[in-house]
């Protein structure tokens, strides 16, 4: 039994359980369980402040988060966890807006607590759609700064390139093409359970490019064309609705 007892996974993807972020974070939580670590998971959307506003509420007032400092919903979820795992997709080179909002809320709650003892560990997992995981370097660094501000112990970050390859499917179902992800998360879990930082090899395995950039471009473009064709939109994908 390790020193680590409870882990909390926060999933910052609007695609929720169907997201690659949930797949990666969930698998890490599963592997931690093998080391005797109890885990639970939340979707950030479920922890107020959630969405900026209800999309369907056309006549509703402006989003609450536009008017005031967010409530501390995500911070309350931390509870007595001694490891926080934040998993999110890369949007425009950084964490998505709801993740930033949750980070701000957690930091504000931590500031109010002024606690210095027993700080939980913190690890970030980023799902990057590009084949080169380095697109997520800035997002991981932002996560590290967040951890520092919150006085969490930064245990490192991992970024998966080519996130579409996983596409929200669960890991651990015998797909050999995903074995490097499973191996990387296994290694990370073993280290985290010992309260150690994510090993470099684990980071490398998640970031491992499984196709060349040129091949990815060819495959990816065909994939988008096929998706459009399935909707009968293959001739419209390059439309310019806001052309000057």
């Amino acid at each position: 039994m390790s020193g680590l007892r409870r882990a909390l996974l926060l999933v910052g993807s609007p695609r929720r359980a169907r997201s690659t972020s949930a797949s990666l974070g969930g698998y890490l939580l599963d592997r931690l369980a093998n080391h005797g670590v109890t885990g639970c998971a939340h979707f950030l959307e479920d922890l107020p402040p959630a969405a900026a506003y209800d999309v369907g509420a056309g006549s509703e007032p402006a989003p609450a988060s536009n008017r005031a400092v967010p409530a501390i919903g995500p911070a309350l979820a931390i509870g007595d966890a001694d490891l926080l795992i934040l998993a999110f997709p890369l949007y425009v080179d950084a964490p998505p807006a709801p993740v930033i909002r949750a980070m701000v809320a957690m930091a504000e709650a931590r500031r109010r607590e002024r606690a210095t003892d027993g700080a939980p560990g913190f690890v970030a997992i980023v799902n990057c759609g590009f084949p080169e995981a380095h697109h997520a370097d800035v997002a991981l660094a932002i996560s590290g700064r967040f951890a520092a501000v919150c006085r969490f112990r930064w245990l490192g970050g991992m970024a998966m390139g080519l996130g579409g390859m996983l596409g929200g499917r669960p890991l651990g179902e015998g797909d050999a093409r995903l074995a490097h992800l499973e191996q990387g998360l296994e290694l990370a879990a073993a280290a985290l359970a010992r309260d150690e930082a994510v090993p470099e090899l684990a980071r490398e395995l998640l970031a491992r490019p499984v196709v060349t950039p040129a091949r990815f471009v060819a495959m990816g473009n065909r994939n988008w064309s096929d998706k459009a064709a399935a909707r009968g939109l293959q001739d419209r994908l390059r439309e310019q609705p806001y052309r000057r």
Partner: protein, 191 residues
């Protein structure tokens, strides 16, 4: 020439309003037309990550709210200026929400540029990008991160000119104004 000022200040943050006024005056003085959006007052939902703006209604987000107008203004602008407090080295949620919802302005298709995969352009226009970050207290690590993020955005949106600056609220306004002027010159305003 047309500039878009996206003010990502959250409620209660007034320093960026001064920055916006200064930039607006400088741009107007250089003969630019200006559009302004105070994002904290805009009704913009979070991106759903559905890619509908790429494969359901190409170029237009499937969520019908004010983000569509912001995206349209972005396409129409020669220069986009993002104003934000520096938040853990990144942007405010207010500014980020608008950016997250603007990916319909590029194509889903990929291309290689200098060996790196990027999304291809939807529009043939030359965009310029300037990011202004404000810190309440000096934090060089976060300032550096902010500049890296702005540079990544400029690369991924394939901007022809780009720059960023991080201001410290406690600095004399004259110094801040000089930094803003340098930034505008860097992105081709008044040069």
């Amino acid at each position: 020439m047309r500039a878009l000022l996206l003010n990502g200040a959250p409620e209660g943050e007034s320093y960026l309003d001064s920055v916006e006024r200064h930039l607006g005056a400088a741009l107007a003085g250089a003969g630019w037309e200006i559009d302004r959006v105070a994002l904290r007052q805009s009704k913009i939902a979070d991106c759903r990550g559905c890619f509908g703006c790429w494969i359901r209604s190409p170029g237009i987000c499937v969520i019908d709210d004010e983000a569509r107008e912001v995206a349209r203004l972005m396409v129409g602008a020669d220069l986009i200026l993002g104003l934000t407090p520096v938040v853990f080295g990144g942007y405010s949620a207010e500014l980020k929400r608008a950016l997250d919802r603007s990916i319909g302005n590029i194509l889903p298709f990929f291309m290689l540029q200098a060996g790196e995969v990027l999304h291809a352009r939807r529009y043939p226009y030359e965009w310029r990008l300037a990011a202004v970050g404000v810190q309440g207290r000096a934090d060089e690590a976060e300032a550096d991160l902010f500049r890296r993020l702005a540079a990544r955005n400029a690369r991924n949106f394939q901007c022809s000119l780009a720059g960023s600056v991080v201001l410290l609220e406690s600095d004399p306004w004259e110094e801040a104004a000089a930094e803003l002027t340098r930034l505008l010159v860097q992105v081709g305003v008044g040069a």
